[in-house]
């Protein structure tokens, strides 16, 4: 099997597996006062400090949650509610057009059920949000905006935003900014404090940790209403008995992945550049979507996720490509999976101005920590005949 879908989920790192399985055998609720509880509390707090240290946050800013989806919902809805309560005029929600559904649908839900006004920030043809676009929007609506959410790195095409510049603009207008950094942490240099963001989502399973554990980094001075009410374990912003084993494993993974970023960035980008060049050599009319591989850096880091290769293959249905590659034991994706499994053209590509037909005929190959040159070779070897077949299928239907 050639696994080229690390952006969907990536294998757990051995240290994370070890930490997880070792911790699973121990009892203890971190909220209990006895010895087992104290021990669990100590483990969780050490893990929290480790996570905070790795991503440039304070330990109190780490709100543990079940992953990216919960962190995104908590940030968008929680900050919206808190800001609206502080000032009833704050009913605007600003999101970029290319957000993950965890942000986009949360914002749409607020518009449908909570009286919010939704403002969607457009992106350029590479999928990036320009700070000037945010400034223009805030200049017109500053008094009404409760929260801005713009992702750090896009999960489909890998484009990286200048979060610092965006946060600066938001703060000029006294508006808090959340960033979904689920794809960024462990792949790019991410420092919460210097990013200027007020809230940042991360999740374990995209960086070598377990599924179902993640965090919202939330600035000490940011106000946020809870989604989940109960014991108030996490700063009263999030309730639920803490997942000790998951948190320890998450911390081990975050630590290892972040330490490895400088090496990974170079190594993965090398493999990815090779993959793109050779795919295009096999299929000369294939085009790379998103930021060009030689684009200038963003905030001192790569302008594109180093493991991301997203291409359109004219005359093909992404569905057909996926199925044929699957039959060749090559696992990749058409972008983001959808509930019914029905492939709709990606909202990300459409927002970038890609035409619907081209959007339907695209594939995402995403590399990660276990990727090798042999994976690239396998994909390159398969693509020619697969594209030819898929073209035949589209031509006939």
């Amino acid at each position: 099997m050639t696994y080229l879908d690390h952006a969907a989920t990536t294998p757990m790192l051995p240290v994370a597996v070890a930490r997880y399985s070792e911790a699973l055998g121990r009892v203890g609720n971190p909220s209990s006062l006895h010895t087992a509880g104290r021990r669990a509390r100590k483990d969780v707090e050490e893990a929290r400090e480790s996570i905070a240290g790795a991503v440039g946050a304070l330990p109190t800013e780490v709100v543990l949650a079940t992953g990216g989806t919960e962190a995104d919902n908590l940030a968008v809805k929680g900050i919206y509610w808190a800001r609206r309560e502080a000032d009833p005029r704050h009913t605007g929600v600003v999101v970029s057009a290319v957000e993950h559904h965890a942000v986009l649908d949360a914002a749409e839900w607020l518009a449908e059920h909570e009286g919010a006004t939704l403002h969607v920030l457009g992106v350029d043809e590479t999928g990036r949000v320009h700070p000037s676009a945010l400034r223009e929007l805030l200049a017109a609506h500053a008094d009404e905006i409760a929260v801005v959410s713009v992702m750090w790195a896009n999960n489909e095409v890998g484009s990286v935003n200048d979060v610092r510049a965006l946060a600066d603009v938001a703060h000029e207008f006294d508006v808090p900014l959340h960033t979904d950094a689920v794809q960024a942490v462990g792949s790019l240099p991410v420092d919460f404090a210097t990013s200027g963001a007020d809230a940042l989502s991360l999740t374990g399973h995209k960086l070598g940790g377990p599924v179902g554990v993640g965090a919202l980094l939330l600035r000490r001075d940011a106000s946020c209403m809870p989604l989940l009410h109960g014991g108030g374990q996490e700063r009263d912003v999030r309730s639920g008995t803490l997942d000790v084993a998951g948190t320890l494993s998450l911390a081990a993974a975050v630590h290892a992945a972040v330490d490895d970023v400088p090496r990974r960035t170079v190594e993965l980008a090398g493999l990815r550049d090779d993959l793109v060049a050779r795919l295009v050599a096999e299929v000369p009319d294939a085009t790379l979507n998103g930021v060009p591989l030689d684009a200038a850096p963003v905030a001192g880091g790569p302008a594109r996720l180093p493991g991301n290769a997203h291409l359109s293959f004219p005359g093909c249905e992404g569905d057909s490509l996926l199925m044929l590659l699957d039959a060749h034991e090559i696992e990749c994706s058409t972008g983001s999976a959808c509930t019914a499994g029905v492939a709709r053209p990606s909202h990300v590509l459409l927002a970038m101005g890609v035409e619907e037909a081209a959007a339907r005929g695209s594939l995402r190959f995403s590399l990660g920590h276990s990727s090798t040159a042999a994976d690239v070779d396998a994909a390159v070897a398969a693509i020619g005949p697969v594209v030819e077949r898929a073209r035949g299928a589209l031509a006939r239907s």
């Binding site: 699957d326 019914a340 499994g341 029905v342 006939r396 239907s397």
Partner: protein, 352 residues
């Protein structure tokens, strides 16, 4: 062979896929998404197009350990099945959308794509037998679906597989349970999959700009009442005519004919429904069409059988029925059988 199993999420297509796999074929399951906006959950026993059905199909494929994909056929389905369905009613005819779906979607759009992608055949959970290109009725007479498959050409049948034709439904359900397929007890879907409410009249009313017309007594020519539009009336229909006064003889009245241009719906007593002969167009013949005596025609999906003498022309057929049939509606298919063998299928244009 590499075969593509069309999996609706129901018990029949799941067992069909399983049998194809057991027969040694390399099977890939595909669920056809036919609605652009599928409902989340199935409504009662109707339909097969909800997200829940798609999940059922996926679950079965996983149990069978075969790859599974969803193919978006919503646009084609709308264009080739739903829109013609509405247009046929608007023209006063009674379409059969399941037949059209087999003809235009499953064994056309899907089959074409499958062949282009390197598959050899499409396998479905239809109850029919297919041996050496000869299409026959299924052994389970209650379940037999050869009527809605008769429209397939020899070329289409050459790439079709119907593994359930030899089995009674009860056996298929038992086999599904034995195989651990969660859909073993799932109710049969009936009605029209894209009208999950079952309200065909309402569905049509939403889509057609309807104009009122008269309900006329076929015998006396008297105007008995008015209707709000012809769509949804079907020849043979008894209920929902909106007539206040009973007939002079106190007997029920039935729709005998629909005239879309004048929008006149004629009604009359049951014996006026008797059809002794019919004409049909757009025929598809299987393996020549020499046999015209000693045949049986079927004029709707369930029942509606009569011995007949069939005269074949280039672009149609005439059938003289040995026994009258009731409720024969233009737009439906007439399928010609010799014993259990399907000889051909055509679309009914008129009846006498």
């Amino acid at each position: 062979m590499r075969v593509l199993a069309a999996m609706s999420g129901g018990v029949d297509s799941a067992v069909a896929a399983a049998r194809a796999r057991d027969a040694g074929h390399d099977v890939v399951g595909v669920h056809l998404a036919l609605s652009a906006k599928p409902a989340t959950m199935r409504e009662g026993a109707r339909g097969c197009c909800s997200v829940e059905d798609s999940h059922d199909a996926r679950r079965c494929a996983d149990v069978l350990d075969i790859p599974f994909y969803v193919w978006d056929m919503a646009a084609r389905f709308t264009e080739d099945v739903v829109e013609p369905f509405v247009a046929e009613y608007a023209a006063g005819r009674t379409p059969n959308p399941c037949l059209r779906c087999n003809e235009k979607i499953k064994f056309s759009a899907v089959l074409d794509r499958a062949l282009a992608l390197g598959f050899d055949a499409v396998v479905t959970g239809h109850y029919a037998r297919l041996t050496d290109g000869v299409l026959r009725r299924a052994v389970d007479p209650d379940k037999d679906q050869s009527y809605v498959l008769g429209v397939l050409t020899a070329d289409q049948l050459a790439h079709a597989m119907f593994p359930l034709g030899e089995s009674p439904k009860s056996e298929v359900r038992a086999e599904a349970a034995r195989r651990g397929l969660v859909v073993a007890e799932k109710p049969d879907s009936h009605d029209i999959c894209f009208i999950p409410s079952g309200d065909t009249r309402g569905f049509l009313a939403d889509r057609l700009s309807e104009a009122p017309g008269e309900l006329v007594d076929a015998v006396s020519g008297a105007v008995l009442g008015r209707h709000s539009g012809v769509a949804g009336f079907t020849v043979g229909q008894r209920h929902g005519l909106g007539l206040q006064a009973p007939a002079a003889d106190g007997r029920p009245r039935y729709v005998l004919g629909i005239e879309p241009v004048s929008r006149q719906v004629t009604v009359g007593p049951v014996e006026e429904l008797d059809v002794h002969a019919l004409s049909a167009s757009a025929p598809v013949w299987h393996g020549g069409h020499g046999v015209t005596e000693d045949v049986v025609v079927q004029v709707r999906a369930h029942g509606g059988l009569a011995p007949a003498r069939v005269t074949v022309s280039d672009d149609g057929l005439e059938a003289a029925l040995a026994e009258p049939l009731r409720g024969v509606a233009p737009g439906q298919a007439v399928v010609v059988y010799s014993g259990d063998r399907v000889l051909g299928s055509a679309t009914i244009t008129s009846t006498r």
